[in-house]
Amino acid sequence: MKWATGSADPCHRAVSPGLMAALLEHSREGVVVCDADGVVTLANPAAVRLAPRLEPGLPLPAPLDSVLSAPEARVVTHDGRQIQVRAEELGEGRIAWYLTAETSRRTEFLLEAARRLAASLNPHRCARAAAELGTRFLCDAAVVFLPPASGRRIEWIRVVPGRSGPDEGAVPAAAAAEVPGLTDALAGLREDVAGRQDPGGTPDWLLPEGFGPVGHLLVLPLPGNSVSAGALVLARRAGRPSFDEDDQGMAYDLATRAGAAISAACLFRDQSTVNGILTGDLLPPDLPEIEGMRLAGRLRASQQAGAIGGDFYDVYLPESGPVERPPLVILGDVCGKGARAAVLAGQVRHSLRTLLLMESRPERLLELLNRSLLASPSPHSYVTLILAALRTAPGGHVQVDLAVAGHPPPLVLRRDGTVEEVAVRGSLLGALQKISLWPATVDLAPGETCLLYSDGITEAFGGPSGREMFGEERLRRALASCAVMPVDALVERLEQLSTDWLRGGQQDDRALLAVRAGRGASR
């Protein structure tokens, strides 16, 4: 113990009775003192909280009285609560007991298992969590085997404390069969409820070099959604105690919980793989390099997790075939939002790809699309669309042949920074038998830009007051301020201004596609 220097009589100067009482009062460790007759003379608040039957003036209650003075603490159960008790002789027959609450290993395990295994929907992360829980509470090395997702190799994740991270690998089924009981466990079968296996049969590859001989081995199936979610192998080094009944119970719990977590994660993985394949074609395409011009596009879906929606754009490069045509870009908006709208948008993009094999005139293409939408079995197949054929012209110019069906007309950013709306319009697709179109052609000098956009941009509500529409005028001004930017910066800036305007408010799908004549920035 240390005292302040200069105290002549440390026991009396440094620790007055008042200070001593305060120290005991605030100690988190319970302190109990008994006299030589075993009668409690002092019990601080922490001690009374842990053992409510303690009462100064009465004898020390059982089972505290059974703890003899020793440097090692013992765990006793008092009123159903586990308490760590250490006794110390103070001289003159007096004895002090120091009490702390014992959180049982099992409670701690259950809390930690719940926290870690409920978190992720990724099979590998779940497997790693299970292995780490194994080594933290039960064993010296834990290996989780995952059921083969594809092919015949079985993936494993191994955790051995003291190594920098988990090791991972994959083995063929034949190698897995070398681990005693693993083939059965992977099939969901258990010979022994506890999963005990002969440690002598452990193959070398199962554990890292230098691990030493295995003394005790548990191999347990991970129960899944009626099919196996893999297997769990727990190993203790030779010389360590064997897995007792408590350990076996905990291992069983761990396997059950890990199995549930891994199988849910596998289910999510399989569904998101299918989802990815199905939605892959609905995402906007990467924009190609086209000689003599630059394209940039941005699409934000209102439903953020899916990243797909009713706004769309696409590019159709010329193909060798009977129809000669320049590159074509489209931007459109399907009535509705989310997956349902995205499916129709995908159909429109695909129909157009097919039509382009036989037809290249924009007006004619829109008429054919209209007929196909009218014939569509799904109701409300309304689509607005801009179709732009991009012809390069002498002097780095680009001629844009535009046909618009019920869509806001494109804007053109001239070299001097002025912004014009193209006088082009036409009726919505999918509503009327006969559509009317007034097409137009725009000439872009090098550095000039034609911007196609969806009404999600101009009809965004927000702004300083939160209730104002972004509007076409604001879009024109924003576009005018982008004259010196590269075209991809231009599109990104417009999207950013629109997102800032929305301030996280209710969003519609938003699409932007810009075509700039020539290469490089306009200046």
Binding site: A119, L121, G165, Q304, A305, S465, P486, G504
Partner: protein
């Protein structure tokens, strides 16, 4: 011969200032070919020049369009470095993302490339990643760590939600970017598992090892509060009222309505993290930026005073605004002193 990197950075700045993508990409590739380590090209040429771009915008020497153009070219240059030098991944998997609503993607992009150079399998999700998209990614790909960038303190509430969401699915978060404070104090407050001020520091921090799972936390972080909620809900009305009052007062040389919006956002962010210096630092900075645009600090003093008058039911906000007024007055006084000093030293003044 070792190329002169400061000179290369100056040349690079000139090229991106003209949005000369081919020139800028050509320069960084030639530096790599001359043997300059890729990390130096990223940090000492590209990142250094981009910091200068920010300063040039602040001092109104470059219009915002030029700044955007330059930044876009730098994005291409960073990608070109990544395409040129790509070591095989030998370490764990990191996903780099920007907070929702955060459009300053370049710093995060540079972090991604530095991590790749150091052997991490790093994926970059781009600017403004919506939370659900990031969490879906975490479940699908199972990275070891999320590196979350936040350059503007006004995004801290959203960054906080993202940190909590990542940790809830069991992935630890390394926070970075000026938004978390120069000393990372907001990263700690919002419960990030680690913080790094720069791209190379982020790589060092990851190399020293992060826990495989976010540590359990006792209780919630002390953030937000009643007035924070009130201000967040009524931000639009507040800004409209302040704008209307300023108009009635016929402020002679006023700032833009956007400036009032930013003031409100920083006020709200400061209330969220309970830190007045977040607000006063912003006030001092914005006085400088506005001054460069011929808007005097008196405009900020006036605007903050109007905010304070309007928010008469919010004592905490009013206290913050008073500190902001004091900071703006200091800027105004410093300028007047300088003016007096300049006048006194003008030749033949009298």
């Amino acid at each position: 011969m070792i190329p002169d990197l400061p000179a290369a950075a100056r040349r690079y700045l000139e090229l991106i200032g003209r949005a000369d993508e081919e020139g800028a990409v050509g320069l960084v590739v030639s530096l790599l070919d001359e043997g300059v380590p890729a990390e130096d090209v990223l940090l000492r040429v590209i990142a250094t020049s981009q910091r200068r771009v920010g300063e040039l915008w602040e001092s109104d020497e470059w219009p915002v369009a030029r700044e955007h153009g330059a930044t876009k070219v730098s994005e291409r240059a960073v990608a070109a470095v990544g395409a040129h030098v790509r070591p095989a991944p030998s370490r764990g998997r990191v996903v780099v993302a920007c907070a929702d609503g955060e459009y300053h993607a370049l710093p995060a992009h540079i972090v991604t490339e530095v991590l790749r150079l150091r052997g991490w399998h790093a994926d970059f999700l781009g600017a403004s990643v919506p939370g659900p998209q990031l969490i879906t990614y975490l479940h699908r790909e199972g990275p070891d760590v999320v590196a979350l960038g936040c350059t503007l303190a006004t995004r801290l509430p959203r960054a906080h939600a993202l940190i909590a969401a990542c940790q809830a699915v069991g992935v630890p978060v390394l926070a970075g970017g000026a938004g978390f404070g120069a000393d990372g104090r907001y990263a700690r407050l919002l419960g990030a598992d680690a913080w790094a001020p720069t791209a190379d520091a982020a790589a060092d921090r990851l190399a020293s090892g992060l826990p495989s799972f976010p540590s359990a936390r006792e209780g919630a972080a002390r953030v937000g509060g009643e007035e924070y909620v009130y201000l967040t809900r009524h931000r639009a009305e507040l800004v409209s009222r302040v704008a209307a009052t300023l108009k009635e007062a016929h402020t002679p040389e006023g700032g833009h309505d956007d400036d009032l919006g930013y003031i409100a956002d920083y006020l709200i962010a400061a209330m969220y993290v309970h830190d007045a210096s977040l607000f006063t630092d912003y006030v001092t900075w914005t006085c400088g930026v506005l001054l460069a645009r011929k808007v005097p600090a008196e405009f900020v003093v006036l605007a903050l005073s109007v905010f304070r008058d309007v928010l008469n039911d919010c004592p905490r906000a009013q206290a913050l605004l008073s500190e902001g007024v004091a900071a703006a007055q200091m800027c105004s006084a410093a300028r007047q002193q300088r003016r007096a000093f300049d006048a006194g030293h003008a030749p033949f003044s009298g």
